[in-house]
């Protein structure tokens, strides 16, 4: 085999996660540098990347239902919310106004995902029967029902405008809030969160890759490309559409639970329509229906504001002299990017990466 890394001699090697050594090496390099980054970076960058990991997890979820199974879902934020409040109830601290049981993270993290996927399954009878724009509208309704519930269910969410504290960071009985001492090194809260989220992100990514190369993933794509043909070759549409919603919500729920644990508190108004739409935008910008796309999209979305800030500092423009404030500029540019991607690169950031990779594979020849 040496010297011919691209010559496959059996089927199992060809369908492996990393079908050649280059991919394997890159994967390891990226993970090691991500771990090293944890100990070098400032808290600002750590927090930024932690959120990027979590947004990637949620976007991977949405990508399963929208990218692979091809079902429009404008209510992903709602499922993220379900996960968040499940974790808040199970892992949060009870006060006079909200309930909480202060249980371990090993309990609330999976349960927040499971609760979200159960809600996903509950609405399956409706979502499975609809497609296209009609499905979009139903999920839109779900966002509004969700935000109404969240703002009025005061014993769980704390009520609109007030919010509540979310789950406590306690793993296997060890309180991680104030950091832990490992040998001579002291891991503070931000570093712990970063490592937990990095792990989540890696496992979700591998899971999605596994999904794509096996039976369920192929069934999802078949439903996207032609549901009548998919049914005619024996794919149970009801089962696979609902399992796509359930899986997607599972990742959304887990991501939500961690996300607000990182930020400390959550206000029910967060889970509005815009919040859900952003996930759709991330998937489109990253590249819908690809494995790496949502990861790229999530990093783009979270790091984009930081780079604008750097650019403004580098150009020595004072914030007061700008006609719009930073938030507005971010949103306008982000919107602009969505339009540009839809027109020039429908495959999103993944498409750009794909072309770059192929260019350098053949370098210095042009094809």
């Amino acid at each position: 085999m040496r010297g011919r890394p691209n010559l496959y001699t059996d089927y199992s090697r060809e369908s492996a996660i990393f079908s050649n050594n280059t991919q394997k090496v890159w994967f390891i390099v990226v993970i090691i540098s991500a771990i090293i980054f944890c100990f070098l970076a400032t808290d600002y960058w750590l927090l930024l990347l932690t959120t990027a990991f979590l947004i990637a997890v949620a976007s991977w979820g949405l990508n399963i239902v929208s990218g692979f199974a091809g079902q429009i879902n404008l209510a992903h934020g709602f499922f993220v919310g379900i996960g968040t409040y499940t974790s808040a109830i199970i892992g949060g601290i009870a006060t006079s106004s909200v309930i909480g049981y202060e249980l371990d993270m090993i309990i609330w993290l999976p349960l927040s995902g499971i609760a979200a996927s159960i809600v996903g399954l509950m609405i399956a009878p409706i979502t499975v029967r609809l497609k296209g724009l009609n499905l979009g509208l139903v999920t839109l309704a779900l966002v509004f029902i969700g935000s109404h519930l969240f703002s009025n269910f005061k014993s769980v969410t704390g009520g609109a405008g007030l919010g509540r504290k979310v789950a406590k960071l306690k793993l296997f009985g060890v309180d991680l809030e104030s950091g832990i001492q490992i040998g001579t090194y002291f891991l503070d809260k931000n570093e712990i969160l970063y490592l937990i989220c990095l792990t989540l992100c890696i496992f979700t990514g591998l899971g999605v890759k596994n999904l794509v190369r096996t039976r369920a993933g192929r069934a999802y794509s078949a439903i996207r490309d032609g549901d009548i043909a998919a049914e005619a070759i024996g794919i149970n549409i009801f089962r696979y559409k609902s399992s796509a919603f359930a899986l997607s919500s599972f990742f959304g729920g887990i991501s939500g639970a961690m996300f607000f644990t990182v930020s400390g508190g959550v206000e029910p108004g967060t889970f509005n329509l815009l919040y859900s739409i952003i996930f759709v935008a991330i998937v489109v910008i990253g590249g819908a229906g690809t494995v790496l796309g949502p990861l790229f999209g999530a990093f783009f979305y979270t790091l984009f504001p930081a780079f604008i800030l750097i650019a403004i500092k580098a150009l020595e423009i004072s914030e007061q002299s700008l006609p719009l404030n930073l938030g507005q500029i971010e949103r306008i540019l982000f919107g602009l990017f969505i339009i540009l991607f839809l027109i020039f690169e429908p495959r999103g950031l993944w498409g750009i990466w794909f072309r770059l990779r192929n260019y350098f594979k053949a370098w210095p020849f042009s094809y």
């Binding site: 369920a216 192929r218 996207r224």
Partner: protein, 253 residues
């Protein structure tokens, strides 16, 4: 293997009668052809068999199973596979993936096993790949294995669709105009594949096509439809001589 029966099937869409009291029997391991002018109801018959349409009256049975009660995916589980008149392949996937999807019903593991790529998943994936490779080999589409459907010429797409249906390892194969839009050479290839599928793999084949030369050449039994009604049924030799068929479809020379 079971025989497929149509018992007085009537199919109506509002005021339009697509099929009117059609009855026929396809015996196991036979090669049955359905011909007729455009709009005669040939594809409607296929849609009734594969559970996409529900007959208004009458019944469709396969062995002891009443197909009227089943969803399309349950019909496929019984071992009835089909192709479509206007190719319905999964366009954003490769030829190999399309054929692997056909093997869906032979893989027995769920979404959770998929996520973790469990041992069971690994084993059945490899088995499915073996099946897929045999079919690719049989249909002579090796060089297109990794091509996306969108980029393939029409004739190859037609073949891939047959391959996808074969991957189900069905007992009954419904082919809806497999030779439509093909030149003579491609039609000959397709005819050869159909004969091989019928004789070597021992499958029941039901064929709809307009290419009279091919149909009369390979079919064992032919049914002629006109405006949703059965006009004649018999061996190709009988059909060619039938005066009603000549008037309605073949034309007088």
């Amino acid at each position: 293997m079971n025989s497929l029966n149509f018992n007085d099937v009537t199919l109506k869409f509002g005021g339009i009668t697509a099929l009117n009291n059609v009855s026929f029997e396809v015996k196991p391991k036979s090669l049955y052809a359905i011909i007729g002018p455009n709009g005669a109801g040939k594809t409607s018959i296929f849609n009734c068999v594969s559970g996409i349409y529900r007959p208004t009256q009458g019944s469709v049975t396969y062995g002891d199973n009443d197909i009227k009660e089943l969803r399309p995916d349950q019909v496929a589980e019984l071992g009835i596979a089909r192709t479509f008149q206007n190719i319905e392949l999964f366009e954003n996937m490769t030829v190999l993936d399309n054929i692997l999807i056909g093997a869906h019903r032979h893989l027995e593991y769920g979404a959770i096993s998929s996520l973790f790529f469990s041992k069971k998943a690994r084993k059945s994936e490899l088995e499915a790949r073996e099946i897929a490779e045999e079919i690719i080999d049989f249909l002579e589409i090796e060089q297109f294995r990794y091509s996306y459907i969108l980029s393939l010429p029409y004739g190859v797409q037609k073949r891939v669709e047959i391959g996808r249906a074969l991957a189900l390892n069905p007992d009954v194969l419904l082919l809806d105009e497999p030779a439509a839009g093909m030149n003579n050479e491609e039609t000959e290839d397709i005819a050869r594949f159909i004969i091989d599928i019928h004789e070597e793999m021992g499958k029941t084949v039901i064929l709809v096509d307009h290419d009279m030369n091919m149909v009369m050449d390979i079919a064992e039994e032919v049914m002629v439809l006109n405006f949703g009604e059965k006009l004649a049924e018999g061996t190709p030799a009988e059909i060619v001589k039938d005066s009603k068929v000549i008037e309605a479809y073949l034309g007088v020379s």
